[in-house]
Symmetry: C2
Subunit: 342 residues, 2 copies
């Protein structure tokens, strides 16, 4: 009996060693290191395991693993002003230089004055005029070149960093974690599709074809040498907010997402639509409740919500009712930006 006993002991020892190694490997490879342990982190891990483990009752075939993410306020900072609005305002001098008459016409006159208070008071109608003047009338290629040049120099006034560095590290980890488990990650933003596509690959690892956003029409035509090109037209084709989100998801992806992340009333229908599908579903809202490390806004936080896309009390109540999880930046996120010292 001795030899067998010795063998069993060795086997037990090896098994214990394997367990230790496995647990170390697990600790080393935590896919969500910027998240504090808690129900939200557990929900994300649990969802991924349930939907990607062969034989799990909630298993989702790889082809159907679609996860959608709002951008502004969900993947990067959008307070107090959306980066794309900053882009449009910053482009006004170039537009006025090309058409000097505009300098005397509102809202361009106000923007050119540099008076921040007056600019902050511009109406939605004024903003629309600025958007039209700065985002249309040029070729798609010219637009892309202009956005690239702006992103290379523009900085957020608070952090003095390029906007593309103000993405949330915990959400970057969720994107990568999902992709590593066979999910296709999409941005579904109320912002401009053409704008976000310029930096989505470098910033989020999301290719242009996986960016769904508000979109202006384009017009096919020819330059003097007969070479075809597309011009950005002042015609709103897709308004990717509210009900527009599931409608655009159907148009651009053609499948219902299994997971969706948002942060505002503009994301409500996307989260609702995602959650209404069969099987395991994950709908999550980012709550901006960290006045120190980022911002605290929305009715419960004292600071006014941004004009568009507020996280209202009604949305919070809806989340509780529908079983969406609320991510507290303050409590769930160990680290917010990649550039922070850990």
């Amino acid at each position: 009996m001795r030899p067998l006993h010795a063998f069993q002991s060795t086997r037990r020892l090896l098994f214990a060693a394997a367990l230790v190694l496995a647990s170390q490997a697990h600790a080393e490879s935590d896919p969500l290191p910027s998240w504090n342990d808690g129900p939200v982190k557990q929900a994300i891990s649990g969802f991924v395991q349930a939907t990607t483990t062969q034989g799990s009752p909630q298993f989702v075939p790889e082809a159907e693993r679609i996860a959608t993410f709002d951008q502004d306020g969900t993947l990067w900072v959008s307070h107090p002003i959306y980066s794309q609005v900053m882009y449009c305002l910053d482009r006004v001098p170039a537009v006025v230089k090309a058409k000097p008459k505009l300098a005397k016409i509102e809202p361009f006159k106000t923007v050119m004055s540099g008076n921040r208070e007056a600019i902050a008071k511009l109406s939605m109608d004024d903003l629309l005029k600025i958007v039209t003047a700065t985002l249309t009338g040029m070729s798609v290629k010219e637009f892309q070149t202009e956005v690239k040049a702006w992103l290379a120099t523009a900085k957020d006034p608070r952090w003095k960093k390029p906007y593309t560095e103000l993405t949330y590290q915990p959400m970057q980890e969720v994107l990568k974690y999902l992709r590593d488990n066979g999910y296709k990650t999409y941005i579904v933003t109320g912002g401009g599709q053409d704008f976000v596509r310029v930096y989505s690959e470098a910033t989020y690892g999301i290719s242009p074809e996986q960016v769904v956003g508000s979109a202006l029409g384009t017009k096919y035509g020819y330059d003097k040498s007969g070479k075809p090109f597309l011009t950005k037209e002042p015609k709103l084709l897709l308004n990717d907010n509210n009900a527009g989100k599931p409608e655009s998801i159907h148009l651009m992806i053609g499948r219902r997402p299994v997971a969706a992340f948002g942060n505002s009333t503009g994301d409500r229908q996307m989260l609702e639509y995602t959650k209404a599908g069969d099987g395991a579903r994950l709908s999550m809202l980012v709550l901006h409740d960290d006045a120190k490390r980022e911002y605290a806004y929305g009715p419960a936080q004292g600071l006014p919500a941004t004009k568009v896309g507020a996280f209202t009390q009604a949305l919070y109540d809806e989340a509780k009712k529908q079983g969406w999880m609320v991510i507290s930046m303050k409590n769930d996120w160990k680290q917010i930006f990649e550039f922070e010292s850990k």
Copy 2:
């Protein structure tokens, strides 16, 4: 010197053996076995090698490898009538059953009569009424269920086969060959996006999100139990023909294709747009010149072209001028359908 000499001989022998093996492996793994050798087959292979071989001056990074394919007449039979038009006509009895008043109204009366000659003479306006009645007003899910049921039973009158078996084997090989070399393959069809998405994955290995087509809008709403769903609306959002093809490619993909395949005037702008990009580009047209194995149509072939999407003499001339290659079904394709005996 003897040992070295012997070693060199052995090495030479091994090298020769490796060459033989490699050439056999190459012969066995010809990715385009249904193509006859010739300039078209060579152009496809040459293009793939030039754009995917590291260090090649025409190398295209994997992220940018986008290839777009028209469907009707390019990937499957579309003569004498588009399958989706057949679907709409076949759906008319169910629509009339649900709304009996339609039985006395044109064009439904003619369709219900079963008079093929009269049906063939329906105007585009009549067809539009039929399309609207059969493709809108139901939920996206109901529509998908109906299309699936139709595909399972409907058969092409000439081959007595389901429509999804009437895909061109040589084009299936091109799709796979491109994908095996890191290309993303898209369908860019004038046909309905929602229609093609139902079978694209099973039929072509192309996932729904890589199908771009003409698209009707959808409307987000709720059923009686409060569950959200999308209804197909009688509102044309994207007309994916002619200039609409590059415009939709920009909207849905956001990159210019490196390769494009079509067969009709409706594909001209897509081929032109693809070819106008920098570096290696492949634009190809399928010419239906095989009256025996498929059809011969277009002005040069005697049979009248289909109403929409003709391969005209002007298109042929344009192809020659622009350096697009013309695929002759008769000469370039060894086999047309998978079900043919080889």
